[in-house]
């Protein structure tokens, strides 16, 4: 079939749009940052035996939910805190898939190196379960590492011209909630599978639980309002106390929901009373609230 010159030209243009000339050096640097971040944030989980156990005790439904929730978290994080402002949703989805893929590979390699995966000896379900659970934490780390560990990716000129683009990724309230959830999952997820959460929860008196809840709220306020000068400056002074209360409540609520999710995933709610579940959620909430507050600061 004869191709008309116009068609040839447009085909070439389309190819150039798909296969861009972004320098390989930049891509390699991004991957290096991503891998570093992935390991930095997920090494505690990769070295935690309760997480390995969750690999063969989790049901397929739980694993499927985990994969989907992680993908949604990555979409949210890449949208509101990603490094390249102005990217389309298509790119955000592609980047999120890449991060999960890198997470799966890293997770498999590290677990194999630690002799936690023994192909041929272990059942496929055990290998897949362990790899998938660890990979989800690694992929969030990859995403954060790619976005936050940058120091010289952009040339100075690019930084100047991108300042206006930066405004595009300025998250609203919803974006803040998404980032808070990412932070809470990342920090809370590191501790949720451990036995210590149960131990602290069941041995705590109601007074201790109340103190932990108060400490969590205090941490949220301190992190967001007394260290986040950028965020504080945005708030009109006359509404300061309203936003202080609002943001603190939302942040803590997000932290509690994230805590409950990871505890449920690791089977901590099985066969326990509502009060015990609540205790565990508040205990983990101390860490998650810090993660939720800090997660919002990751946009800086």
């Amino acid at each position: 079939m004869r191709i008309l010159p116009e068609n040839k030209y447009s085909t070439k243009l389309n190819v150039n749009r798909i296969i861009g000339n972004r320098p390989l050096r930049k891509s390699l640097k991004e991957y290096a940052r991503g891998i570093t971040g992935g390991l930095l944030f997920s090494f505690p989980l990769l070295f935690t035996m309760e997480v390995w156990w969750a690999g063969f005790t989790a049901t397929p439904e739980q694993l499927l939910i985990l994969v989907l929730v992680t993908y949604l978290l990555l979409l949210g994080y890449n949208r509101y805190a990603g490094m390249r402002p102005g990217v389309s949703w298509r790119s955000i989805m592609i980047d999120s898939v890449e991060e999960m893929g890198i997470g799966v590979l890293l997770s498999f390699v590290v677990l194999f190196m630690l002799n936690r995966l023994r192909p041929g000896e272990m059942a496929l379900s055990e290998i897949m379960g362990k790899t998938i659970i660890e990979a989800m934490a690694v992929s969030i780390g990859v995403s954060i590492g790619t976005a936050q560990l940058s120091s010289d990716d952009f040339e100075e000129e690019e930084r100047e011209t991108n300042e206006e683009l930066e405004a595009e990724k300025e998250p609203g309230r919803f974006g803040m909630v998404v980032l808070a959830f990412c932070g809470a999952i990342l920090i809370g997820g590191n501790v949720a599978p451990t036995e210590e959460v149960i131990m602290i929860a069941v041995e705590a008196l109601p007074l201790h639980i109340l103190l932990m809840a108060a400490a969590s709220l205090l941490l949220s306020i301190v992190v967001v309002y007394f260290s986040d000068f950028k965020g504080t400056a945005r708030q009109p002074s006359k509404d300061f106390f309203f936003w202080l209360t609002f943001d603190t409540c939302v942040s803590y609520l997000v932290a509690l929901i994230a805590s409950a999710f990871v505890l449920w995933f690791f089977g901590r709610f099985d066969g326990v009373s509502f009060w015990t579940g609540m205790q565990m959620t508040v205990v983990l909430g101390v860490l998650s609230s810090l993660g939720a507050s800090a997660g919002r600061l990751l946009i800086k």
Binding site: F56, T57, V87, S88, V97, E98, M122, E158, T161, E164
Partner: protein
């Protein structure tokens, strides 16, 4: 204007061949995982663990009456804290007992260990393995 220029100069959606390669491999991995999980979800039936154990003589210089044991789980879920009892019979009479505790026995798994009885092994020895208890994680 500056924004447009920046967008033209450094299109954030632009990807090179390496990034597309990583994306394709990642997509393939993810689709395989999702396919595997969807298959598992559709075929999953909640089943109890089904644990049993076997013992084979495995003498060593320091422990001549040693047995290599394996705990299998052919059930549909993981068993936790599996306690297995091994009884040594000599000439049909119970002579000695040994116990092995396995922290976890995932489904379709084989956990290996050793139990050591006192004295010298004899041709009239036989070992019977029995799962005493386990719990669900």
């Amino acid at each position: 204007m500056t924004t447009d220029k920046a967008k033209r100069k450094h299109n954030p959606d632009e990807k090179n061949w390496l990034e597309w390669l990583v994306f394709c491999v990642s997509l393939l991995l993810l689709l395989s995982i999702l396919g595997y999980l969807v298959y598992q979800v559709s075929s999953y039936k909640a089943q109890d663990p089904d644990v049993y154990a076997e013992a084979q003589p495995d003498p060593s210089v320091m422990a001549p009456n040693r047995y290599q044991v394996a705990v299998y789980n052919k059930g549909g879920s993981t068993a936790e804290e599996v306690i297995t009892e091994f009884i040594l019979y000599t000439d049909g009479k119970e002579k000695e007992k040994a116990e092995l505790m396995t922290a976890f026995s995932p489904k379709d798994s084989k956990q290996e260990g050793w139990v050591i009885f006192s004295g010298q092994p004899s041709d009239k020895d036989s070992v019977v393995a029995r799962i005493v208890s386990f719990k669900k994680p």
